[in-house]
């Protein structure tokens, strides 16, 4: 530990990155993927065995966005004990910001050919653009909003919740209420976000057609890059002194408060950062899947994100990424091969992971797990033996 510090005194980031074995592997894979996948998609002929088809590039890109979302949840749940059941809301808000930009890019190529108004507004007989759509014709503005809006919501929500010490399941339930309220709100046509149908029929991004292989590969690379950056940021936070306080809050909130830390500010900071990451994930997700609708606000989806983290391994960051890939690959597989079985699998996963794999897949791998690799079941048996009761 000390020799790293001495060796890389000028660049502490590299210092702790080198220590983080899982993180190094993750970043390595991301860099390799960012180079190899687009290259094989664009350069190799379709007949080649190593050719990655475009749909696969988009699918992997989608998984990367989910991974980023899972990362943001792990940052607050794994390191600060905040179980948000409403993170899908931040994701969707980021997605809507990007969707609004893409809608404005359609211009007069829509069904009704209105140069300013998106098609659904023409349907609804709207005469002019609502004020909150202003500025979304500029890419930079949309990107800023994709981060600012979820961040602001998280800041206000978190400020209110953490200040009055709403914790545990109460916090989980009100985050769920938040995303549910947004779901209902976005379903309304009057909101000006396309109602039930959401935003879709996108044409191009920064002038590049969304249908072309090049753009899709570009989005894939962007997803890799952002996941890498966000991972590094999240790791930086957890490695810092602030991160230690967060972990302390997770384990004994009252004690940290009594020691003199303003617990609410720490929580608020990490909650807001996490929401911004979720917003970025949403903004990357929308151009790759080509649609954003209020369904993304559904509370059930937000709970699903939590299980990605739990499956991968809570409190490891790279575990969240792994979990997102595992569960979503399973989803793609099951919904294609045997759709009836998918919910059984997902439900079983929730139960099995909480009972038998409290540290997730990562925890089951000896090289990554800590020395304490007992499953919850064994701890329970031990506890029972200690108590000597017949509970």
């Amino acid at each position: 530990m000390t020799d790293y510090r001495q060796k890389y005194q000028m660049t502490p980031v590299i210092g702790w990155l080198l220590k983080d074995r899982g993180g190094m592997i993750l970043l390595g894979i991301l860099i390799a993927a960012a180079i190899l996948v687009p290259a094989s998609n664009l350069l190799l002929p379709e007949s080649s065995a190593f050719h990655v088809p475009t749909w696969m590039v988009s699918l992997l890109g989608k998984y990367l966005c989910y991974a980023l979302l899972a990362l943001s949840v792990d940052l607050i749940w794994g390191f600060c004990g905040i179980l948000s059941l409403g993170h899908g809301a931040f994701f969707a808000l980021g997605g809507y910001a990007m969707g609004m930009y893409l809608m404005r890019q359609i211009g007069d190529r829509g069904v009704y050919g209105d140069p300013i108004l998106p098609d659904f507004m023409v349907f609804l007989n709207w005469q002019e653009l609502p004020w909150y759509w202003y500025g979304f014709d500029m890419f930079w503005f949309a990107i800023v909003m994709a981060m600012f809006v979820p961040g602001l919501l998280a800041f206000v929500f978190g400020f209110l919740a953490f200040r009055s010490r709403v914790t545990g399941v109460y916090l989980s339930i009100i985050t769920q209420a938040m995303t549910y309220a947004l779901l209902l709100a976005f379903f309304r046509n009057d909101m000006g976000f396309g109602g039930n149908n959401g935003l879709t029929d996108f044409k191009d991004l920064l002038g590049y057609s969304l249908q072309s292989d090049g753009t899709r590969a570009g989005l894939f690379v962007a997803s890799c890059v952002f996941l890498g950056i966000c991972y590094t940021v999240a790791r930086g936070i957890t490695q810092s002194r602030l991160g230690k306080v967060l972990i302390a809050i997770r384990d004994a909130e009252s004690r940290v408060r009594f020691t003199g830390y303003r617990v609410e500010y720490y929580k608020l900071f990490v909650f807001t950062v996490s929401a911004v990451m979720a917003g970025i994930a949403g903004a990357l997700y929308v151009p790759q899947v080509g649609i954003i609708n209020p369904g993304e606000f559904a509370p059930a989806l937000s709970i699903e994100i939590v299980i990605w983290v739990a499956v991968g391994g809570r409190g490891t960051l790279y575990g969240a990424v792994l979990g997102a890939f595992i569960v979503n690959y399973a989803k793609t597989f099951f919904t294609g091969a045997m759709p009836d079985f998918w919910l059984f699998f997902l439900g079983g996963l929730f139960i099995a992971v909480t009972l038998f794999l409290p540290k997730g897949v990562i925890g089951a791998i000896p090289a990554f797990g800590s020395t304490d690799r007992q499953s919850l079941f064994t701890t329970w048996r031990k506890r029972r033996a200690n108590e000597g009761g017949k509970a």
Binding site: G168, A177, M178, A181, V306, I307, G347, F377
Partner: protein, 567 residues
């Protein structure tokens, strides 16, 4: 997006309803003329046989406008034989017989058509369809026919038909109907219907009356009524006062009358809102009370609670299927049997879940939340696999269908009334169990101080399992009630789960009265906001209000005090 497009189309000014409206007005004008020209000099109210036959033949005219005029003419007469003819025409059963050009009502019996003479109403032969030519109708004519039938119904010998006709006239408020109505008032013997008819007359006399006195007396009649209809009549009159140039004193009287009607209506509106709020509150209460028990006693967030409600609803369905062959339809027994059955089934599932999953997770509320969410997904999919994803039909017993209707627009449906009653009984039952049984005593002890309860010899694990079973069983009972008002589908539980959480969190954990108060206040607030903001916005407001409320009182309305909170 396609959906939106269609809904816009539906709202376009060229819709069918509009065209019908125009046709109706046109018809009314013609009827007016017809009344003046034909009906007035001839006060003998019935057609002779020959007249009837002749006029009916004109129904086959090529021009729809002419047909409308003929229909109005026939209707204005009040001859009882006219109604069946127009009814047949509306149903497409009116034909012209090719052999003698007579108009007949023909109905298909097997391969041949039986002819019924329009004058005598007797069977006059039969033929194949080739020998008949149908009298064609279009939408405009359909409108006119329905209108005309309404007029004729005024003179029907059946009291129910007459009163329905009066209501229809009151809705349409067509001045052309006034002479007919006056004739009907002369003949009417039933007191209640007569009062309604006079009210209908007053609504028309308001605009069509000739003298100031006539209008003032009409306003007098109207002011004593308290229905939304009358409010509409009066406000329409006041709004059009300037354009029509009514007398100032009449307008002033109308404004006064309108204000008093509106005042009384808004009181009724409030009563209605409170009732609907209580009704929603009782549903929320039923859904949430089981959750309150498990959450309050065990600190367990049971995300599968909604699925327990669903299982209860499916049990109701199964019981109904099983008893369907024995019991007559509409019998209350299947519902009565469903209540204990649903309690047992859902309770048993609850105990199994507690023993197999939840007991390993005590003290880890967030993990419990995730695991029970998993259970809920499995249960949903299991029900979907067994019963299919479609809604199952649970028929309501006779005592639950129907409603008490007030003329003021307040409707109390029996199923809602029963659910309110049922929820009160269930809560009273739970309160009794908690208060008076040994199990209740142990449960309260565990809630207050788990370790101390264990120390004095209460088997806390056992209490936990039974508590979870009780909570789940009550959710099952809630499912019986909810099967009467919502769709019995695998998603039934999902629609109630978030609401039930809100109720429990709002009411405070570990307090039954908190849950009761929480459910009813959320229900009432929701229903009071609805008329102002619409159902969806009201719900959003309630959610936001709750989120803000939690900031103020993080542990709900009635929080447990002391150390138990932190445990």
């Amino acid at each position: 997006m396609r959906n939106d497009m269609f809904s816009v189309l539906r709202r376009s000014p060229f819709s069918l309803a509009k065209t019908r409206d125009v046709a109706l007005r046109l018809g009314a004008m013609i009827a007016c003329l017809a009344l003046l020209v034909i009906a007035t000099p001839n006060s003998a109210q019935a057609f002779s046989d020959e007249e009837l036959r002749n006029i009916a033949e004109q129904l086959n005219d090529k021009s729809a406008t002419k047909k409308v005029a003929v229909i109005e003419e026939m209707a204005a007469d009040g001859d009882p034989r006219v109604a069946p003819i127009l009814k047949a025409m509306l149903d497409g059963d009116l034909y012209v017989r090719d052999s003698d050009e007579h108009v007949v009502i023909a109905t298909k019996k097997g391969k041949v058509f039986t002819h019924i003479d329009i004058v005598s109403g007797e069977e006059v032969g039969e033929s194949s369809s080739k020998e008949l030519s149908k009298i064609k109708i279009n939408n405009r004519l359909r409108g006119a026919l329905r209108d005309a039938l309404a007029t004729l119904n005024l003179f029907s010998p059946d009291l129910n038909i007459r009163s329905a006709a009066v209501e229809q006239i009151m809705d349409a408020r067509d001045p052309a109907m006034l002479p007919l109505l006056l004739r009907a008032i002369d003949r009417e013997e039933d007191e209640t219907l007569l009062a309604r008819m006079e009210l209908a007359q007053a609504t028309m006399a308001l605009a069509a009356g000739d003298t100031t006195e006539e209008r003032l007396s009409a306003i007098d009649v109207l002011a004593s009524e308290t229905t939304p209809q009358i409010r509409a009549v009066l406000s329409q009159f006041v709004a059009s006062a300037e354009a029509e140039g009514y007398e100032p004193e009449v307008v002033a009287a109308a404004e006064d009358a309108l204000a008093s009607v509106e005042g009384r209506l808004s009181t009724w509106q409030t009563i209605g809102d409170v009732y609907r709020g209580i009704s929603l509150g009782s549903v929320l209460l039923l859904a949430a009370v089981g959750l309150a028990i498990t959450f309050g006693v065990m600190g367990v967030i049971n995300m599968a609670h909604g699925e327990m409600i669903m299982i209860g609803a499916y049990t109701t369905f199964m019981v109904q299927q099983a008893l369907g062959s024995i019991l007559p339809s509409g019998s209350a027994w299947s519902l009565v049997i469903s209540v204990p059955a649903a309690f047992l089934v859902a309770g048993a599932v609850g105990v199994v879940i507690e023993r197999s999953v939840i007991r390993f997770l005590y003290g880890r509320p967030l993990e419990t939340l995730l695991a029970t969410w998993g259970v809920s997904l499995v249960l949903q999919q299991a029900i979907r696999t067994i019963f299919g994803a479609t809604n199952q039909q649970v028929t309501a017993p006779d005592f639950m269908s129907g409603a008490i209707e007030f003329s003021t627009g307040l409707v109390l449906t029996y199923n809602r009334l029963w659910i309110i009653l049922f929820s009160i009984i269930v809560v009273a039952g739970i309160a009794a169990v908690l208060r008076y049984t040994a199990f209740g005593l142990q449960m309260r002890a565990v809630t207050q101080n788990r370790r101390m309860a264990g120390s004095v010899g209460i088997r806390t694990g056992y209490v936990d399992a039974l508590t979870f079973g009780l909570g789940s069983g009550i959710a099952g009972i809630a499912g019986v009630a909810l099967s009467q008002i919502s769709n019995v589908s695998p998603n039934l539980g999902q629609t109630y789960i978030i609401d039930s959480f809100m109720v429990v969190v709002f009411g405070g954990v570990g307090n039954l009265w908190g849950t009761v108060l929480g459910a009813f206040s959320l229900g009432i607030v929701n229903k009071f906001l609805e008329p102002m903001a619409g159902a969806v916005l009201a719900k959003i407001f309630v959610l936001i209000a709750l989120i803000l409320f939690i900031q103020k009182r993080p542990k709900g309305l009635f929080a447990l005090k002391g150390r138990a909170v932190e445990a």
